[in-house]
């Protein structure tokens, strides 16, 4: 079966052979093969990982001259100078018969590379004795190159063009023609702001025939607030910014202020060195500003596992691994991850280098907090409050002051209460004569459930007759007591009740639920409510405490399961003694609204005269009070009970709770920040990256490879950041301008944006890369200046059409055409929103929830958030503001290759799938946009003919005017849809109803809107609509 695999290996070589005709630098321009520049890089890329200094598989080290000219295990000579076909080296990379084709674990050598090796051996395999193998290109200092001379000075109107043109001319490729103005303004608008140009902007540009017309457009776009919103997307992918923790308890957390910081920094064109320093170490800057601290959210975006049973130290170690790896990828274009466990196999970073970087990040506190016995954890870690709008802040200040006053009062009340303790204790323990209970004489009983009743001899009421679900009893009664301080309600058993009661609903489960008890005093014509301060019962069911009967909440109440079939009582202490006169009557109301006849079958009401505290004293307290000697615990219990009786304290506590609730509701939002612990942790190399196996101790430091001027930087994050932006680090500027270039051209000068190491691709235009890198450093680190230079180049102004010339540059590696690629996920949506006229320009703030189908968010774990589709302009805000929940990101973005932001992503893939087609065709969010576009086509154009409307809609989507056949295709569709709708008018209603609540546009002509919906739907689905 190996055969098939081998055939498939040959195949790409064939493809590349064709490419090689024009693709080879060496063959076309430089016939002399040099070991250092041509051969050694091939070894490094393909061979050293198994046959180098780290490993010598089959006893071969191609990194050493003697070995390379010696014999292999098979006794065959590896390289025979002058005889490529007899050299084992060539056999093993070309001839599968000679054994498994090398390299077995990666892409094969290109035809071009093989040709270089052949020619090198043929020409004598010159391997200089004293090869100090050159430092890998990316680690060499950036040197500003001189501008190359080119033939066509007129074309090369900008330094970039000279570098590009030189390479094109070397390959005999002609650059493409200049694209027309409409295509250019569309390209540059989408590239800089992620939004299409408006028709007015297009027309203005077409009319502007001044020399600076192009520059004016670029300046306008760079100054637009939309610029930061577009360019933030790629940076937030690097920063793996999201709005949730990730992992099992994927709860939402606030760090959107960091996202806004990025957008603002980009809009302000913050110097890029400062941009780096503030994100890595803003908190450590002298007199760090509020904004500088927000910036450190960059490394607080890391995922955090708070699932029950997690081990926080492991979690913390993983977070630091992520910080180190991300730092390596973003600022050094280098994957450091391998060095977590062992020395890097291909690049000059060892394990010690890794843990010295680790040490910089090892001094921040734990980010999970124990909230349940060492197994339940919550996301924690340093946060910072954000400023509130002045109105809200004022309100908060008032509340805070009120709270302070109340707290003071409470302190006083506590003191007084402490003083009264002894007296109280004496009173309740002195055996002061207990007051009198007296059964009330019932004057009238009424109920809402049509029950019947009889008064028994003992003064109790027996309820009979129909058993209602719910009921309310009202009892009017008199007492001979002059002074009443408490009321007792007894729920008694009786043989006439099912299961003997006391409840009426069930003979097995004879429960009742008294939801509310209220008392009024009737004196002459005046009826006044009687305040109840406290309740106690002989027994309360779990979660159905008797206090629920006096809390004003009809959902709570007093019940007695499972103590069925026996009498129960509850005593209610009155806040103030009732002064009873001859004519006074008590009116009691008992709400029993649980249903299923859970109502009291026999009840008796008594009144008490005397100190109200006595009857409501729990037995336990009564017993403790009379005890001669009490333990500390018992004494504490008594004091606590006493304290809880203090009415003033109760009132104050209630008020304090109320204000605290209000304060909580107006709490300022927060954002996650980095904070250094006072005492730094010790860092050790971790064996195999295991946090439980520390080895040698290390101190913070940059990789030894760059060990130049290391001492001038303090051993903390700020020192690291300062080193990263210094010219001791040749990678930062190169890696950065390369990413910007790729964002504009769809591919990097170094194609592997994420890897500038020896395994990455070499730059196609090394001088151009270094020129851009030095421009960045020398021009105040201005990102906008670099971007402006690039987009004003002739290179960027080329047409993107494929031509015969394109066959020489199929991948547009040499920039013989203008860029053309699909928009990224967020921009596809932003673009459609802009076209439909629905786009909101509201910036910043908490993330938004546009429409998504139900059932997307359904993770395991506590406190899961709910998706609530916005009913206002938040539904139409730009993609950068959509909430990013890591375990279920916004589905229509995912279809278009948005990552889940669980880890740093440098380069999103750009796929082309049927799910994307389904999204644009059918996602209700896009349908709503299609309705918006239909309304625009019907209401906005001056030319109100079908043709005029089509041209207008077409221009909104593609910026250009349609060709006749394009108009005809759409007119055709229009005709058929009109006929279909005429035949089935029901469709009108359905299509118009596609919009969701809160749709901001007015649908004027439903029938025509329904017809034009089809045209909009088609236009929004065009390849050109979603292409830049």
């Amino acid at each position: 079966m190996g055969t098939c695999w081998q055939i498939s290996r040959v195949c790409p070589a064939l493809v590349l052979a064709i490419v090689a005709i024009w693709g080879s630098n060496v063959e076309a321009a430089d016939p002399v093969v040099q070991f250092i520049t041509d051969v050694e890089p091939i070894f490094r890329k393909h061979c050293y990982r198994c046959h180098g200094e780290v490993q010598d598989k089959a006893g071969l080290r191609l990194s050493r001259r003697a070995a390379a000219f010696g014999v292999a295990d098979s006794d065959e000579p590896v390289i025979i100078a002058g005889k490529p076909e007899q050299s084992l080296l060539i056999k093993r990379i070309t001839d599968a018969e000679a054994g498994e084709l090398m390299p077995p674990d990666g892409e094969p050598l290109s035809k071009q590379e093989i040709a270089i090796l052949r020619r090198w051996i043929k020409s004598g395999a010159n391997w200089p004795d004293s090869v100090a193998v050159a430092k890998h290109w990316a680690y060499q200092p950036v040197v500003r190159p001189a501008l190359p001379k080119v033939d066509n000075e007129r074309w090369a109107n900008n330094p970039i063009d000279r570098f590009v043109l030189k390479k094109l001319q070397e390959r005999g490729i002609k650059p493409s023609r200049e694209t027309d103005r409409v295509h250019w303004i569309r390209r540059v608008s989408l590239a800089l702001t992620g939004l299409p140009p408006t028709l007015q902007e297009i027309d203005a540009f077409l009319e502007d025939r001044t020399e600076t017309a192009y520059e004016k457009v670029v300046d306008r776009l760079l100054a637009s607030k939309r610029f930061g919103e577009k360019w933030a997307i790629g940076w937030l992918d690097l920063a793996r910014y999201a709005d949730s923790n990730g992992f099992q308890a994927d709860q939402i957390r606030d760090s959107w202020a960091y996202r806004d910081w990025v957008i603002n920094a980009l809009n302000r064109d913050m110097p890029f060195d400062q941009f780096v320093i503030e994100q890595l170490a803003g908190d450590l800057l002298p007199n760090a500003s509020f904004e500088q601290k927000v910036a450190t959210g960059f490394h607080r975006t890391v995922t955090c596992n708070v699932e029950a049973g997690v081990h926080p130290e492991e979690n913390r170690t993983n977070q630091i691994f992520d910080r180190v790896n991300t730092t390596g990828t973003v600022f050094l274009g280098t994957s450091l991850e391998c060095a977590q466990c062992h020395d890097h196999k291909y690049d000059p970073f060892d394990q010690k280098d890794y843990y010295r970087l680790f040490a910089y990040f090892n001094n921040t506190p734990l980010e999970v907090k124990d909230t349940g016995g060492g197994v339940t954890w919550d996301f924690y870690g340093p946060k910072m409050e954000l400023p509130l709008p002045p109105e809200k802040q004022k309100q908060r200040d008032i509340l805070s002051r009120e709270l302070a006053v109340l707290k003071e009062e409470k302190q006083k009340a506590e003191k007084e209460n402490g003083k009264s303790y002894r007296k109280w204790l004496e009173k309740i323990s002195s055996g002061e004569p207990r007051g009198q209970w007296q059964v009330l004489s019932v004057h009238n009983f009424s109920s809402t459930g049509n029950e019947e009743f009889e008064i028994l001899e003992d003064g109790s009421i027996l309820v009979t007759g129909p058993v209602p679900g719910k009921t309310v009893y009202e009892i009017l009664a008199r007492s001979k007591l002059k002074n009443i301080t408490a009321i007792k309600v007894e729920a008694l058993t009786h043989e006439k009740l099912p299961g003997n009661g006391p409840g009426r609903g069930d003979k097995e489960r004879t429960n009742f639920i008294l939801n509310e008890l209220s008392i009024h005093l009737q004196q002459a014509d005046r009826r006044s409510p009687v305040k109840i301060s406290r309740a106690i019962a002989d027994f309360s069911q779990k979660k159905w405490d008797v206090s629920g009967a006096i809390d004003g909440n009809p959902q709570t109440g007093w019940a007695i399961a499972p103590h069925y079939h026996q009498p129960h009582w509850a005593i209610f202490a009155l806040s103030d003694p009732l002064d009873m006169q001859e004519s006074s009557q008590l009116m009691l109301r008992l709400d029993q609204n649980y249903g299923h006849g859970r109502t009291i079958g026999r009840l008796r009401i008594s009144a008490y005269s005397g100190d109200a505290e006595i009857p409501v004293l729990p037995d336990e307290i009564r017993k403790l009070a009379v005890k001669r000697e009490r333990t500390k615990e018992e004494e504490k219990k008594l004091r606590e009970f006493h304290r809880k009786q203090n009415r003033k304290l109760i009132e104050l506590n209630n008020k304090i709770t109320e204000i605290r609730d209000k304060l909580k509701k107006t709490e300022p939002p927060t954002t996650l920040v980095m904070v250094e612990m006072e005492k730094p942790r010790e860092t050790h190399i971790l064996s195999r990256g295991n946090y439980l196996s520390p080895l040698e101790k290390v101190t913070p430091g940059v990789p030894a490879l760059f060990d130049t001027g290391n001492d001038q930087y303090p051993p903390n994050r700020l020192g690291l950041a300062n080193w990263l932006v210094s010219d001791h680090n040749p990678l930062l500027t190169r890696v950065t301008v390369n990413r910007w270039w790729a964002e504009l051209f769809g591919r990097g000068i170094v194609r592997t944006l994420e890897d500038f190491g020896s395994q990455g691709e070499v730059p196609t235009h090394p001088e151009l890369l270094d020129w851009l890198a030095s421009e960045l450093r020398e021009n105040g680190w201005s990102m906008k200046k670099i971007i402006k230079t690039i987009v004003l180049s002739q290179t960027y102004r080329q047409s993107s059409q494929f031509t015969n010339e394109s066959e020489k540059d199929p991948e547009n590696k040499w920039y013989s055409r203008g860029p053309r690629f699909r928009l990224t996920a967020e921009l596809i949506r932003d673009n459609a929103l802009a076209i439909s006229g629905l786009l909101s320009d509201k910036m910043g703030g908490p993330p938004v929830m546009p429409y998504q189908p139900g059932g997307i968010w359904r993770s395991i774990g506590r406190n899961q958030p709910k998706w609530i589709t916005a009913q206002n302009e938040d539904r139409f805000r730009r993609g950068v503001y959509i909430i990013w929940k890591r375990d279920a990101p916004y589905p229509s973005l995912v279809s278009f290759d948005a990552p889940d932001r669980t880890a740093c992503v440098v380069n999103r893939s750009k796929t082309n799938t049927p799910l994307q087609a389904l999204t644009l065709l059918n996602d209700p969010a896009y349908s709503e946009m299609a309705v918006g576009l239909a309304i625009r086509m019907l209401s906005e154009p001056r030319d109100k003919t079908d043709r005029g409307r089509i041209i207008y809609g077409f221009r909104l989507c593609l910026s250009r005017e349609p060709k006749t056949d394009e108009i005809d295709i759409l007119l055709d569709l229009l005709k058929q849809e009109r006929a279909a709708i005429r035949k089935n008018p029901q469709l009108v209603k359905e299509r118009v109803k596609i919009v969701l609540p809160g749709f901001p546009m007015k649908i004027g002509a439903p029938q025509e809107t329904a017809v034009w919906f089809a045209i909009s739907n088609a236009l929004l689905n065009l390849d050109e609509t979603i292409t830049q």
Partner: protein, 482 residues
């Protein structure tokens, strides 16, 4: 679109066939794809069928993941000694210096209750021991290959799910299903190559459990949902009829062709094809999801009720998917994390999955599909032989088991594995392997092997490294291969 138009379009394309920039995939993907498949060159389709490294034993995989981790000691790895010593404090070496997720005090040993309901039975000719909680699986024991000695590195759910399914306990790597689809493509171009079916909550690792990490996102799993549109945005908006949809897609494609004639970017041609496929999916997916067409016997076998989402429905759908050439079908079922009440909850969960999984094996077999379909029962880890919570006579219904990474049992059946076979042995208390220890990388290497791929050669270059599913580990478990 008229055929003649399409033809012109294809002729125009021929010029660019060799130059195709790999479907717009990430930079590194291109060369890797080219290497793997000559036939895909020119088609530019990343899901085109690619030949395996060597003859495959299984064409498709149905991978059933029991989220939360079932108590393997009460299902597939019977421990009479543990039963005997139930209630004793566990040996020190089970606890001292060990990291456990929840247990904080030295726990007692917890045996399977001595109750006929929980007893084990020797099943089939092979005599594999399976718990009475799984009466239907007992009947297909001779198809099953039980591996009793799987170990993992992670003891929290989400990291352990990532570790098992992506080969690495943190985020960012491609999942096993996406590796399989990346390596082999898909046999059915009207359906995604990697389909995910979920009952209950989504696993803690979220969509990363079926994500594509750094390989192109065409290889990520596509969830077929049991409620609403089975595939997101599959159905037309209200008011858009099938005819209307066809007309709109025709117009879109005609306009795209005009653009293609002008610009000649091969991506446009791909987009035209994708719109056609989207249209076909609007028919093929509902047809697939409509299980009503199955016979009464089949419904009885699985215990399925059309229109009522269930794990059983997903098992039946899994068969329908592999029948149609879908490469990798992954079922997730949540609710197996039994820290308390393990003996109360386990029977209930077993009842939900036992019959449909057994039915799936039988059904695949009678259709001649079992030979080419690998069925896997897995979980992110196992459960401790020690009790979590109080153990004792009256606590049978409340006691639970904690997460256990030192050794647990799972099984495979079908495509290329030995039926009626047990691999590996744990100690008498079921704590750790004593014979034939296997780790999750070995398991993944074996699954890839059965699909005809060498796990060390199925690589993707990213950040200068040839990444693979098995990280730098993994050995094919030769003993389980038939």
């Amino acid at each position: 679109m008229r055929d003649s138009d399409m033809l012109t379009c294809l002729q125009m394309t021929r010029r660019y066939l060799l130059q195709k920039s790999g479907y717009g995939l990430g930079a590194c993907a291109l060369s890797t794809l080219f290497q793997q498949d000559c036939s895909a060159v020119g088609k530019g389709n990343p899901l085109a069928v690619r030949k395996p490294h060597f003859p495959a034993r299984a064409k498709s995989v149905i991978y059933i993941h029991l989220v939360g981790a079932p108590s393997h000691l009460d299902l597939f790895d019977f421990k009479p000694e543990l039963q005997k010593r139930n209630g004793e404090l566990c040996p020190d070496e089970f606890f001292v210096g060990k990291k456990l997720a929840f247990i904080r005090k030295q726990p007692t040993l917890l045996g399977t209750p001595k109750d006929p309901r929980y007893e084990y039975k020797k099943c089939g000719q092979s005599g594999i021991e399976i718990s009475n909680l799984l009466p239907n699986l007992q009947k297909v024991a001779d198809e099953m290959c039980v591996i009793k000695t799987v170990t993992t590195e992670q003891f929290n759910h989400a990291p352990a799910q990532l570790h098992l399914l992506t080969g690495f306990g943190r985020f960012g790597r491609p999942s096993i299903g996406s590796w399989a689809t990346y390596g082999l493509g898909s046999e059915n171009q009207n359906l995604p190559g990697f389909v995910v079916l979920i009952t209950g909550n989504v696993a803690g690792a979220g969509s990363s459990a079926w994500g594509s990490g750094f390989i192109p996102s065409v290889y990520q799993g596509v969830e077929f949902r049991s409620q609403g549109d089975p595939v997101l945005f599959l159905s037309n908006p209200k008011g858009v009829s099938v005819e209307s949809r066809r007309r709109i897609i025709d117009s879109v494609n005609r306009l795209n062709q005009v653009e293609y004639a002008d610009v000649a970017d091969p991506e446009i041609e791909t987009r035209i094809n994708q719109y056609e496929m989207a249209y076909r999916m609007q028919t093929s997916v509902p047809e697939l999801m409509d299980i009503e067409s199955e016979t009464k016997q089949t419904h009885e076998l699985y215990g399925t009720l059309p229109g009522k989402p269930s794990f059983a429905n997903n098992c039946l759908l899994a068969r329908r998917l592999v029948e149609r050439g879908v490469r990798f079908v992954q079922l997730f079922d949540s609710g197996w994390d039994m820290h308390s009440g393990v003996f109360k909850s386990l029977p209930k969960k077993c009842e939900q999955v036992d019959r449909p999984i057994a039915a799936l094996l039988k059904d695949l077999k009678q259709r001649g599909l079992l030979d080419e379909t690998l069925v896997v029962w897995s979980s992110e880890f196992g459960r401790t032989p020690m009790a979590q919570g109080t153990n004792g006579m009256d606590k049978v219904l409340t006691v639970g088991r904690d997460h256990h990474k030192e050794g647990f049992a799972l099984w495979m059946a079908g495509g290329g594995v030995k039926g009626g076979h047990v691999h590996g042995k744990t100690d008498e208390l079921g704590y750790a392997p004593v014979e034939n220890r296997v780790d999750t990388h070995d398991l993944n290497a074996t699954i890839m092997h059965l699909l005809g791929m060498d796990h060390e050669r199925l690589t993707f270059k990213y950040q200068g490294r040839q990444y693979r599913l098995t990280d730098i580990f993994g050995n094919v478990i030769q003993e389980v291969l038939s």
